[in-house]
């Protein structure tokens, strides 16, 4: 069996006496779409920040793309993409300039940047707005662009922190098609979300309550386990405690 791309064992983060993430354990395989579900403040974002090297964990162990989150965070950064709930592109740069900058800092060559830029713009249908400032794009377009840029260097893992917040259903559906494409191309996806219909799209999901993972499995398994028709009911059941 393949080694898991993300491996977390008892990963914990304390802020003073507050335990934001409490001993979470999971393994994520290559190409898997893994959903992090939970109410606001359940610890999803803190979990992602530890795995991406933005936060140092308090205890436990975790490896991302084969590298230790405590000691090899700089190596991890070469192998991951990240897109946060805040719009992560530069508003005062154009579409082209954003692509060029991120591709550049991820070490793509001049030629690669040119090819990728063309490819990406064609795929997203942004030909007419490639010299428009990012801030003038509709939110849905921005999010799709941000996701494309997050995987421009073909990382092993991409972390998506509430990528579809505030986006209309049609665009959300398109966004998820992009996630499926990435997954099919072998990129492991870890995504947090509030939308229960999106949870159904994931290969496996974990539900976090107060920093703990209280349920973990495929959507089908969870529905059987909790004897509920849909994810929404499971979520409400668990989140209420």
């Amino acid at each position: 069996m393949d080694k898991p791309v993300i491996y977390s064992n008892d990963l914990t983060k304390n802020f003073g006496s507050f335990c934001a993430v409490n001993k979470i354990c999971f393994e994520i395989k290559k190409g898997e779409i893994f959903g992090f579900l939970g109410a606001n403040g359940a610890g999803k974002t803190t979990g992602i920040k530890m795995l991406t090297g933005l936060l140092t964990p308090s205890s436990g162990e975790a490896r991302v793309a084969g590298f230790d989150v405590f000691t090899e965070s700089e190596k991890i950064k070469k192998n991951i993409g990240y897109m946060s709930q805040k719009f992560s592109l530069y508003n005062d740069l154009t579409v082209n300039e954003n692509i060029r900058f991120y591709a550049g800092v991820y070490g793509l060559s001049k030629k690669e940047i040119k090819i990728k830029k063309k490819e990406l713009i064609a795929k997203l249908g942004l030909e007419d707005v490639q010299d428009t400032l990012a801030k003038e794009l509709p939110l849905g377009w921005k999010q799709k662009l941000a996701f494309s840029i997050a995987i421009i260097h073909q990382p092993k893992v991409v972390f998506l922190d509430e990528p579809t917040g505030g986006v209309d259903p049609i665009t959300r559906r398109q966004f998820w098609e992009m996630i499926f494409d990435a997954s099919a191309a072998g990129i492991t996806v870890l995504v947090t979300t509030h939308y229960m219909d999106e949870a159904e799209y994931c290969d496996r999901i974990s539900i976090m309550v107060d920093g703990k993972i209280v349920a973990l499995g495929t959507p089908k398994e969870l529905k059987n386990q909790y004897n509920e028709e849909d994810m929404n009911s499971i979520f409400v059941k668990l989140a209420r405690g």
Binding site: G53, L55, S84, F101, G107
Partner: protein, 372 residues
């Protein structure tokens, strides 16, 4: 290296795209340079003078005409009464009141002891002491001239007085602009450097883009060099334009080597950019960064010797100026531009500023974290 170039390219695009920023960068400093250089004038001119001649003698008329001829004084009243003179002082219509009493000449010739009363409005102490100083000079010169004009019998010549002559080196016309412009130039370079670099990094914090940068493989040193280089270049450009304005508009003498000025500014900017960067690491919003930078710079500027001589500060303040980079740069600029000091004359300036730049940047880098 490529990574750094990508960051520098991005910064320049953002700087030049920001329509509010361009005027701040290139227009404001020169308005300040021109405005301040003309306005911050420590020469006391246009002293409003009320002069009363109750003697109406040859001697008193000579004194009055000397005051009239002096460019520092504007005579507002030839009063007739002492009361009028004091009223003018009270009303703020005169700065200085000179009273030549009746019988002045007679006393001067017969008793060799004339007296004139000078009263100054000393609300502004500096101005008052300078004004009375001018007045005393005028009276001293009158003294000399008057003694000579008296017909003395042979052997009865008056005692030769000690005649003090002045020679002002390095700024012979005592042109205050020569003194101010090099200093104000320092202020501009400093403000641009500290404000812009600090606010720029904090803006990435505010926008959340710094988080995105922190998950990329950009290394700390690449981030810092990439961020600060554009402002270093801008600082050098500001210096250049400032020197050109100093030369063309103010005809500032540039006796020393310009290479020395540039070399020093290059290191000095590292220090100031480090300061801005440090401020950005301990603040989270642009407002905080701006106020903190302003707080630090106001103290640095006012205690730099730019406006008031360091020598007239209390001892403890003089010690503090040793830790004030602006004070060093102001002094350096004045020495090199006006006195033509060579590298050997000012080498410890370089030494000091280089050490300060290293300390500042080490502190800033240590304080900057890619992960919390």
């Amino acid at each position: 290296m490529r990574t750094i170039l990508f960051i520098i390219q991005k910064e320049f695009i953002q700087i030049f795209r920001n329509k509010g920023m361009l005027p701040i960068l290139f227009v404001m400093p020169f308005i300040q340079l021109i405005l301040l250089s003309y306005a911050a004038d420590y020469e006391v001119k246009n002293i409003k003078l009320n002069i009363i001649d109750n003697d109406m003698s040859h001697a008193s008329r000579l004194i009055v005409s000397k005051f009239q001829a002096n460019k520092h004084f504007d005579i507002v009243h030839f009063g007739a009464s002492a009361k009028q003179g004091f009223d003018d002082l009270n009303a703020g219509e005169a700065d200085l009141f000179v009273h030549i009493p009746m019988g002045f000449e007679k006393k001067l010739i017969q008793e060799k002891d004339g007296s004139i009363q000078i009263t100054a409005d000393a609300v502004n102490g500096v101005k008052a002491s300078i004004a009375t100083g001018y007045a005393q000079n005028i009276i001293a010169s009158f003294n000399k001239q008057f003694l000579k004009s008296l017909k003395h019998p042979v052997g009865m010549m008056p005692k030769p007085a000690i005649d003090v002559t002045y020679s002002n080196w390095y700024n012979p016309q005592l042109n205050y602009k020569n003194f101010m412009v090099p200093g104000i130039l320092v202020m501009l370079v400093t403000m641009i450097g500290a404000f812009l670099s600090g606010m720029n990094i904090v803006k990435e914090k505010e926008d959340g883009t710094i988080e995105q940068l922190n998950v990329t493989p950009i290394k700390k040193y690449q981030f810092i060099i990439g961020k600060l280089t554009p402002f270093w270049i801008l600082g050098m450009i500001i210096l250049t334009i400032g020197l050109v304005i100093g030369k063309i508009i103010f005809a500032i003498p540039m006796v020393g080597s310009l290479g020395l000025i540039y070399g020093f500014t290059a290191i000095y900017l590292l220090l100031i950019l480090g300061l801005g960067f440090f401020i950005s690491t301990i603040t989270t919003t642009q407002q905080q960064a701006l106020f903190l930078a302003w707080f630090v710079l106001v103290i640095f500027i006012l205690m730099s010797g730019l406006m008031t001589p360091i020598e007239s500060m209390p001892k403890w303040a003089q010690v503090l100026t040793k830790f004030n980079p602006i004070a060093w740069f102001v002094e350096f600029n004045r020495r090199v531009l006006l006195k033509g000091s060579s590298f050997l004359d000012v080498k410890y300036f370089f030494f000091y500023i280089a050490i300060a730049a290293v300390v500042m940047n080490v502190a800033a880098v240590a304080n900057y974290r890619k992960r919390a």
